[in-house]
C-alpha cells in the first residue's frame, strides 16, 4: 500500500524499517535524537541511536570501524559540505580498505547528508558536490529525486556492502509523493525513465528532474517529445538506459544542479560521447550551475542555477529550433 508522505519522512521511514529488520543497523550523528523521547530512541534504544559531537572525522571514521566489525552504520552528516571536513575518511579510507586488503574486509556504511540547499544559504551550504565523489572507485552515490526513491534508495544504501554517500536534496524535503509502506528497496544502478519521448533525451538528477519534467511539458505544446531519465545513482551509473534512449532520440541534454567542470554532468556527457557518438544527430548540451560559488542574493542565486526555461531553451537549440547561443 502506498500513501502520500513527504520526501524527508520517507527517508526516516526507511531508516526505521531497516533498523527493525536488521539489528546491526546503527544510526548516529549531529543532532540525531538528542531527546530520549525521539521515536527512534524509543524504538531502538540509546545503544543504536546516538547523538554525536561535531566531529566529522570521528563520526565517519567510526562508521568505517563499525562496518569493519560487521555493523551497518548510518551517519547523519546534515550537509554534504560537512563531509569535506573529513574527506580522507570518505574517499581515501572507506572505499579503499576492501581493495587494499585483497577483498578481506568490507565497509557497509551510509554517509547521509543534504545538498543543493540553494535557498539563500550562500556559498558554503549549497553545493551539489557529488561530482568529486565519482572519482573514487568503491564509493557509491545515491541522489533520490522523489519520496519513493528517498525511501527505496536509503534501504538499498543500508543493505549495500559498500560505503554509500546518500544525498538528500534539501529543496525536495517537503515534496509529497506516493511511498510504499513496509520494506521497499530501489536497487542501485537502475535509472528511472520519468517520461517517455522520442525527440530528445534529457538526463536530469535530483532537484532538476522536476525542472526537466516541467520543461518537457512546455516543449510538448511545441510538438517536441522529450524523454526524461533520472539516473537515481551516480555510482553505479546506468549508462545502458541512457545510451539506449539516445539511440532512439539521437539527442542528449544533461541537466545537473552542480557545476560543470569535473561534475556529474560532464561524466554522463563523456560516456555518451564515447559510446553513443554514432547515434547523435546533434552535439550534446549541458545545463548545469554556472562555474561559480553559489551567491547569496536571490536574483543572483537564481541566475547561476539550471531552471525550466534554460532546459527548454537548450532542448530547442539541440533540435535546431532556436539559434545556438554564443
Amino acid at each position: 500500500m502506498a500513501r502520500e508522505i513527504p520526501y524527508i519522512a520517507a527517508v526516516q521511514e526507511a531508516i526505521r524499517v531497516e533498523m527493525e529488520r536488521d539489528p546491526t543497523v546503527v544510526f548516529y550523528g549531529q543532532d540525531v535524537a538528542p531527546s530520549d523521547e525521539d521515536p527512534l530512541v524509543q524504538a531502538f534504544g540509546r545503544q543504536r541511536v546516538r547523538v554525536s559531537p561535531i566531529s566529522e572525522t570521528a563520526e565517519i571514521g567510526m562508521a568505517v570501524g563499525l562496518a569493519l566489525a560487521g555493523y551497518r552504520p548510518v551517519v547523519e552528516l546534515l550537509m554534504a559540505e560537512f563531509m569535506l571536513v573529513a574527506m580522507n575518511q570518505v574517499v581515501n579510507e572507506a572505499p579503499r580498505l576492501r581493495y587494499m586488503s585483497g577483498g578481506q574486509v568490507k565497509v557497509p556504511a551510509v554517509f547521509k547528508a543534504g545538498y543543493g540547499f540553494t535557498a539563500g544559504w550562500a556559498g558554503q551550504h549549497t553545493g551539489s558536490i557529488y561530482g568529486m565523489f565519482m572519482g573514487f572507485p568503491g564509493l557509491k552515490i545515491a541522489l533520490p529525486s522523489t519520496p519513493a526513491d528517498a525511501k527505496g534508495l536509503m534501504a538499498a544504501a543500508i543493505r549495500d556492502d559498500n560505503p554509500v554517500c546518500y544525498l538528500i536534496n534539501y529543496l525536495l524535503v517537503l515534496e509529497h509523493g506516493d511511498v510504499p509502506e513496509g520494506e521497499y528497496v530501489v536497487p542501485f544502478g537502475e535509472a528511472a525513465v520519468r517520461r517517455a519521448g522520442s525527440d530528445v533525451t534529457i538526463v536530469a538528477t535530483g532537484w532538476t528532474v522536476g525542472k526537466a519534467l516541467a520543461a518537457a511539458e512546455t516543449l510538448k505544446a511545441e510538438g517536441i517529445e522529450a524523454e526524461v531519465i533520472d539516473p537515481r545513482t551516480l555510482n553505479p551509473l546506468d549508462t545502458a538506459t541512457i545510451l539506449s534512449s539516445v539511440e532512439k532520440t539521437g539527442r542528449l541534454v544533461v541537466v545537473d544542479q552542480g557545476t560543470r567542470h569535473g561534475g556529474a554532468s560532464a561524466v554522463i556527457a563523456s560516456e555518451v560521447a564515447e559510446h553513443g557518438f554514432g547515434s547523435l544527430k546533434a552535439p550534446i548540451a549541458q545545463v548545469t550551475a554556472l562555474d561559480v560559488t553559489v551567491p547569496y542574493s536571490e536574483p543572483m542565486e537564481a541566475y547561476v542555477l539550471p531552471n525550466e526555461e534554460k532546459i527548454a531553451g537548450t532542448v530547442r537549440q539541440v533540435l535546431g529550433e532556436a539559434p545556438v547561443a554564443a
Binding site: V26, P53, G61, V64, Y71, E93, Y99, G103, V105
Partner: protein, 345 residues
C-alpha cells in the same frame, strides 16, 4: 603480573625476536635484492617490547588497528611471515594479494583489522571497532580494541575527536601512542606543546577526562602491565585510557627514495643525519629492548643461554624461509588489478 608465567615470557621474547629478525630481513632486502621492495616501508625495530607487551594482553575476540608502521602486529599475532614478506615484495600469495603492500597489512581473522597510511586516520576507525565491541559486549564476554598510533598523530584532529567521543561514550578502547620522539625528522619538542614544556604526552588524556599513563616502551612487562590495566578498565565498562609508550626507533623513518621513486637502503637515524647527535642514537642502541629482555629472562632463569640461542636460530630459519618464499612467489596477474569484487563487495 601473576598472569605472566614462564611460557608467556618466553612467548613474548620469541615474538620480539621474530619482529626484529623480520625487520632486519626487510632492511637487508634493499641491499641484497635491490628493486624487490617498491615504495616506502617503515620498520618497527626498537618498538618490539611495546608491541608484544601490548598484544600479550589480548583475549579472543579483541581487535586492533595500527599505522603504516605495521609489520610487527601481525607477526606477533601469528600471521604467516611468508605471506607478510610476500605482500611486501608485491607477490601473488601476499597477505593482501599484492593489493596493499607494506603499509596496509590486514588479517581480520586474527583481529588485525588494518591500518591507515595517513597519520592519525586509523584512530577513529579503531574507535568505531570499540563502538561495535560495546554493542556486542551486551551479550558477549567483553571485548577490547587496541588503537596504535605514533606521537605525531596526537596533533591530528582525528585524535582529539576520537578520544573525546570514546571517553564520552565509555568505549572499550586503549589508545597506545608509540612515542619515538620523531615525526619523520622533526623532534617532538619542535611540534608538541606538552613536549616543549617538558611534560609527558600522556597529559593530553586529562583534556578528555580519561587516565593518561606514560610507560617505558622498551620494557615489555611494564607495557603489559599498563595496557593490561587499561584493558581491564575498558572491559569493565569504565572507558578508554591513553598510554604513552616511549620507544626509540632504531632505523630511519623509512627507506630512502631516489628519483624517480626507486627505493634504496635505510639511511641512519635522523638523530644522526639531521641533528648530528650520534650520542643519542648510541644510547638508544645500548637500551635495545631485545637483548635487554633476553638478558633479563636469563638472569631470572626463565631461559638459559642455550634455549635462547635455539629460539634465535629458529627465528632466523623462519625468516630465511619467508624471504625465500617471497622471492620465489610469482607476481599477481596484472588483470587481477581490475578484480571488481575487490572494488565493490
Amino acid at each position: 603480573m601473576t598472569e605472566l608465567d614462564n611460557d608467556k615470557l618466553v612467548w613474548m621474547f620469541t615474538q620480539m625476536l621474530r619482529i626484529r629478525e623480520f625487520e632486519e630481513r626487510v632492511k637487508r632486502t634493499f641491499e641484497e635484492h635491490p628493486g624487490v621492495i617498491r615504495g616506502h616501508t617503515h620498520l618497527a625495530d626498537g618498538a618490539e617490547a611495546s608491541i608484544v607487551g601490548s598484544l600479550a594482553t589480548l583475549k579472543p575476540g579483541d581487535q586492533l588497528m595500527a599505522t603504516y608502521r605495521c609489520h610487527g602486529y601481525p607477526i606477533a599475532l601469528g600471521t604467516d611471515t611468508k605471506s607478510i614478506m610476500a605482500e611486501i615484495y608485491g607477490r601473488k600469495d601476499g597477505l593482501c594479494g599484492g593489493y596493499g603492500g607494506s603499509m596496509h597489512l590486514v588479517d581480520p581473522e586474527r583481529g588485525f583489522m588494518g591500518t591507515s597510511g595517513i597519520v592519525g586516520q586509523g584512530i577513529p576507525q579503531a574507535t568505531g571497532l570499540a563502538f561495535a565491541a560495546q554493542l556486542r559486549n551486551r551479550s558477549h564476554p567483553p571485548q577490547v580494541v587496541l588503537s596504535f598510533f605514533g606521537d605525531g598523530a596526537s596533533k591530528q584532529g582525528a585524535f582529539h575527536e576520537s578520544l573525546n567521543l570514546a571517553s564520552l561514550w565509555k568505549l572499550p578502547v586503549v589508545y597506545i601512542m608509540e612515542n619515538n620522539n620523531y615525526n619523520v625528522a622533526t623532534r617532538s619538542e619542535q611540534e608538541d606543546a606538552n613536549a616543549a614544556a617538558g611534560e609527558p604526552l600522556s597529559r593530553k588524556a586529562a583534556a578528555y577526562s580519561m587516565p593518561g599513563v606514560t610507560v617505558d616502551g622498551t620494557d615489555p612487562i611494564a607495557v603489559y602491565e599498563a595496557v593490561g590495566a587499561a584493558a581491564g578498565r575498558a572491559r569493565a565498562g569504565d572507558g578508554p585510557t591513553l598510554i604513552e609508550s616511549k620507544v626509540y626507533r632504531l632505523s630511519a623513518h623509512g627507506n630512502i627514495i631516489a628519483p624517480p621513486g626507486v627505493p634504496l637502503h635505510y639511511p641512519e637515524h635522523e638523530a644522526i643525519t639531521v641533528f648530528g647527535n650520534r650520542a643519542e642514537y648510541e644510547a638508544a642502541l645500548r637500551g635495545d629492548p631485545v637483548p635487554r629482555f633476553r638478558a633479563r629472562l636469563v638472569e631470572q632463569s626463565v631461559l638459559d643461554q642455550a634455549r635462547a640461542d635455539e629460539i634465535a636460530q629458529g627465528v632466523r630459519d623462519e625468516m630465511d624461509a619467508a624471504v625465500k618464499f617471497a622471492l620465489d612467489d610469482p607476481f599477481p596477474d596484472p588483470e587481477a588489478a581490475a578484480k571488481i569484487d575487490y572494488v565493490y563487495a
